[in-house]
Symmetry: C2
Subunit: 733 residues, 2 copies
């Protein structure tokens, strides 16, 4: 129990530092009156969006919580679940609120500071991003620690090893609150940001021929709000979910794996939390390492950011050995390598994303070159590159899974899936996810830095700060694009590993579901009856026939694969429709408000913000509902085997599809930037116009549909876990 | 044995009718000298392509056959395999040769006949398409019947029920020959046709502003050759593979399921062959039903085609009850419903494809409407529609799987995956695939009709037959587009069901692999040892731990999903590169050969044909190699469990991705046609230009990468089956 207190302690340290960075940032000047006004516009837009979004989400949460309470009443659900569900959602929403508030206060200050030096701008933007990173990890650990203490107090010890299993599987359900919040944040935020962006570009850049972020464009404030809404709040909620999901599923798998060894069971439950806690402290250390000389170049800024992240990662890797050793794991060495496998996988996936999307490398240059034959070849080569770019991340995750599993079971290759090894190996995979996410405090800081820099550029442009300042903000922004790209890869990779951990936890929850329901049925596994409470994961898989030849599993795999595509289609079309409304509005303003284009009249920014907000709220409901209902319906129709197939199929296709969409979109964006830098005819050339088409197509790819898939992967598992009781007690086939 | 002779008999009847239709078509006049010359150009191009392709394929076949012979020498392979492999490839190649020869002779004759009446044109084009359909089913049944007779003569009866298992699993390997041939035909043909098409469009339509099929465009002959190469030979080889694969895997699963009942075992092996044979005869009957009055409208022509297909399908469904009853199946009623489930699934998927891609319906109209805001929104909405369109086919296949399985086991829902039920249920799924493909004789006729009509239009345009004739060929062509769309859906659906049947057969082959290798190891399934020869499929899955929590299975699923995307990417990029070469060549000819655009000089058509041919040959090797090697490498690294995961993941993702690509591509094509018919500004408007971009992007989607996925799905299973011996006797994990 001693080590456990590191968890709340790290949480509080994180929150204190977040507050400290926030206060420091607030002391900076926001610049001229014009800069303040614009920042205020963006802030108001962002807050009004968040308010509207939280209203919708609150209604959904109340409905689901009431349903859970009803299920609990009929014995289909643990009675803690409604409360756990609500706190998960609440803390995630709170993190989004703080993160976005900080980001919207920071952008004008960054633009102002950049006038002094590039480095001052970086520092403000990065430390403000760190507020988001630290609030996310801080609140997540706080929620975990509080629930652990509450449940530890209230849950009774029935049989040895039983209590922790009950506690951890109950805690898993608070992950569903975080998942649901993340769903709306990512999908709604993704639709918002791209409706505004696409709408602004189509009319502003293409039709009216005015530059990006020009104050004459009525949609420009909405566009800047969108960066905060999508890239700060959406990304934060996504990773909040992964962070909680990986820690909680590892704890649940640990409680199950060490079921018969009460002392180690406790440590196995604490291990992921403590690794995460140490990770938070070392991330804060890393954040302080990000500093350079006043006259630093962009390259130096980049290497400074990298230094912060890499030093944190290395120190976490080293500490892991110590933590697992001190926690008395007999195979502490093997498990440490599981953690490191995850940590390394995250870095490799981030690097591969950068390779495929940065215009310093061949793939994106080739896409730019294909612009010579028009937009069609830009789209074809961008998609080709995106498809091919899936191979490295997938092979990396595959390697990480295999290594994490094998080293957790001491390379007992001959009996990989024996009853004991299976539980231990899956614990290894889950803890690899924790390893990957242990640097979240600082990696999320580098992520959230991007939109702040982007908004700073927007602010500088709109307040007419002059080309020199704009050039510097562009430098910060281009740095932000790189961190955003690696951040996206990291988010997808961690979603995949977390999804796997949750998939494994699902069987665990099925077992607990059976125990809870007081099922007197004995598992009849190949003629031998096994008591439910003593059954291993292998027994459960035998009992539910979770083999690849079971038609229910195969049907589930098909449906899961389809879900990923359907979800993408719905979100893409949502962006299309919402952007169309924006286009109509901007055209109307140009037509009806005389003098906008000459700069004599101010456009109606609020109206555009409102259109994006309402569009996002309306459009996010159908895909969200579908993601929540798919596992419930599959469970009711096809039972546990069908659900397992659904999750595996959704994970396989969803992961690959997400990488494809993120990388195609990123590569198109940078192919356009490459031409804008003066290559192949430069800005305004036919080739440039062709890449603008690519960029516009890429917008919903990389910022709406792609990231939303991260949520789908995790949410479907979460819903399945929470609904396990229902699936077990009632299913058609 | 009596009923068996229906199989060679049906085969011969099919080939005789094919010959009859061919001769009848050849009696028609090919029209003016100009028409003859152009047809000769296309014919020469097609044949020179086929010659070149078969050269490359022959080398690959020799290499693989030698490898197989080597493996057989070391006891890793059955010694019949090299020969079976070669005949499978040879017959498939022969079918492609005959089909394409017929198609290239028929197009000018169709154009000429259309001058008389629409109906005369339809009759020639459709009956020529029927040559392809009948040659494919005729040669497939011939190959099956011959090999059955040979093996029945040579294979010795070791133990009761053993002989048929050996025969059927050996025959399965001839499917790999068909698969390998189909791989090169689809991938090479797909690259060829789209390199020519995209190249011709980019320079001709977009840059020079001359219409499609204009004789001044140097790439126009290559474009017309491409239709034959891709849509006739490629499609034929694809379905030849599905046809053989479904029949052979059903036979293998039947031999396994009725292992202990020698009399029924014989019938279970014959059943799929006899259903197919009756299907061939009824398809011929259906072909004769396709006739209308001389002054028929397009709508009447369409309903005439539909009548032919539907009457065949209904008669086959009715006959199935009789066949299975006469073959003494105790659950003949249930199995008949399995067959009908497949038959219906094929029709529903075809209809859904038409809904999502025809401009008579909302989705495509909406894509056309999005052209008002330029090419980017066309791409976004087309992809959104394509993503969403995957849901109906996937749910249809899922329903078909579940129904086929359940009705084959008499709805014994409680014990779906018991040892006996599993084998029987998988037999039901496999025979559903046979049901879907039983109408192939006539459905392939409606497919191959499309490119013939398309080429007839090209011939009419190039020979200057006047707008009235062109209008009629356009009517035929638009009818061909509908049949091509449903045909594509049908090809994908049948690939998915065949892939599932092959996946099931894989375990069977693993078992035989073990027996062949004289493995004395007993299967240790949960503590009980079972003799290999007596082990059930369930035992094998237990032994190899093919459960969803085995990290090797999970890793396999990830890799399988990735393979589908990687394969798409490689083929997309291949088209991009080959098209680029075509663009360069056409530009060079416009520049260097004076008077092309004024019609005073003839362009160098042959050079363009050569460029497409060489491009296709060069570009098809890498993706093909990858498809063949992936299952081998996965098997060596991760054994049977890894391979099963690979196949399931590849099937799930590949199927959904294939539908997405086919439907997006089809919808873009028709959105363009919709505008060309005068909507939204008509030809030459900005909206039209935007849809031209969509159409160009859609070309490799629907005609290269999408259809190639059909092959990937089946080929990976086929390779796994043939390599089972290696995987069983040696793997790293």
């Amino acid at each position: 129990m001693n080590y456990f207190y590191l968890v709340p302690a790290a949480s509080i340290v994180a929150l204190v530092f977040a507050y400290y960075f926030f206060k420091r940032m607030m002391k900076e000047s926001e610049g001229t009156e014009k800069m303040k006004t614009i920042a205020q516009h963006v802030r108001d837009g962002a807050m009004s969006y968040l308010k509207q979004q939280y209203k919708v989400v609150a209604i959904v949460f109340v409905i689901i919580a009431v349903l859970f309470a009803g299920m609990a009443f009929f014995g289909l659900q643990n009675s803690w679940v409604p409360f756990a569900f609500l706190t998960g959602g609440f803390f995630s929403g709170l993190a989004g609120f703080f993160g976005m508030k900080t980001a919207t206060y920071a952008s004008a200050r960054t633009a102002n500071a950049v006038q002094r030096s590039l480095n001052s701008g970086l520092k403000i933007a990065f430390r403000s991003g760190a507020v988001m990173g630290l609030v996310v990890v801080g609140l997540a650990l706080l929620d975990i620690a509080l629930w652990y203490l509450i449940l530890d107090h209230f849950v009774a010890e029935a049989t040895a090893g039983h209590k922790l299993v009950m506690i951890t599987t109950t805690m898993l359900t608070f992950g569903m609150g975080a998942s649901t919040q993340a769903l709306f944040a990512r999908v709604g935020g993704g639709i918002y940001t791209k409706a505004a962006d696409v709408g602004a570009d189509l009319v502003g850049k293409v039709e009216a021929g005015i530059p990006e972020d020009d104050p004459r464009n009525p949609a420009t404030i909405a566009d800047n709000v969108g960066d905060n809404v999508g890239d700060v709040a959406g990304m934060g909620a996504d990773l909040y979910e992964s962070y909680c999901g990986s820690i909680l599923s590892t704890a649940a798998l640990g409680a199950a794996a060490f079921n018969l060894n009460p002392e180690m069971q406790q440590n196995a439950v604490f291990a992921p939390m403590i690794i995460a806690a140490i990770g938070v402290l070392l991330s804060i250390f890393g954040i302080f390492l990000v500093r350079t000389k006043e006259d630093a170049t962009v390259r130096q800024l980049m290497s400074s950011l990298n230094r912060g992240v890499n030093v944190s990662a290395i120190l976490i890797a080293i500490s892991t050995f110590g933590i697992l050793y001190l926690l008395d794991f007999s195979n502490w060495l093997g498990l440490s390598f599981s953690v490191i496998a995850g940590l390394l996988a995250g870095i490799i996936i981030g690097q591969s994303t950068e390779y495929f999307t940065s215009h310093s490398f061949k793939p994106t240059k080739r896409i730019a070159a294909s612009a010579k034959t028009g937009p069609a070849t830009v789209i074809i080569s961008g998609m080709g590159t995106g498809f091919i770019s899936t191979s490295i991340p997938v092979l990396t995750i595959v390697l990480a899974i295999i290594i994490a599993f094998l080293s957790a079971i001491g390379f007992d290759v001959k009996n990989m899936v024996s009853a004991g090894n299976l539980s231990m190996g899956l614990y290894g995979i889950a803890i690899a996810a924790v390893g990957m996410l242990s640097t979240l405090g600082i990696t999320l800081a580098t992520d959230a830095y991007g939109p702040i820099a982007d908004n700073a550029g927007g602010n500088a442009e709109m307040s007419g700060l002059g080309p020199e300042v704009r050039k510097r903000t562009d430098a910060l922004d281009s740095l932000g694009n790189t961190t955003a790209a690696t951040g996206k890869g990291f988010a997808i990779g961690s979603a995949a590993l977390t999804g796997l951990a949750l998939l494994a936890s699902y069987m665990e929850e099925v077992r607990i579901g059976l125990i809870r329901l007081g099922e007197d049925l004995m598992l009849l596994s190949n003629g031998q009856s096994v008591e439910v409470a003593k059954a291993s994961l292998v027994d459960f898989m035998d009992y539910y026939q979770v083999t690849l030849m079971n038609p229910k599993v195969l049907a589930g795999i098909f449906i899961g694969s389809m879900m990923a595509f359907l979800f993408c289609g719905l979100t893409m079309n949502a962006v299309g429709r919402a952007a169309q409304n924006m286009v109509d509005e901007v055209r109307r303003q140009f037509r009806e408000i005389k003098g906008i284009l000459t700069g004599e009249a101010t456009p109606d920014y609020e109206r555009c913000v409102e259109i994006s907000t309402r569009g996002a709220q309306r459009e996010m409901l159908l895909p969200s509902l579908l993601a929540i209902l798919a596992p419930v319906i599959t469970g009711i129709l096809m039972g546990v085997a069908g659900v397992m197939g659904l999750l595996a199929g959704g994970l396989g296709s969803g992961f690959v599809l997400a990488i494809f969409m993120a990388n195609s979109g990123g590569a198109w964006d940078n192919a356009k930037k490459y031409i804008e830098e003066g290559h192949l005819g430069g800005k305004g050339s036919e080739a440039h116009k062709a890449t603008v088409v690519g960029d516009t197509v890429g917008d919903p790819f990389k910022d709406t549909s792609g990231p939303s898939l991260n949520i789908l992967i995790k949410l479907m598992s979460m819903v399945s876990i929470v609904m396990a009781g229902l699936t077990v007690s009632w299913s058609l086939l």
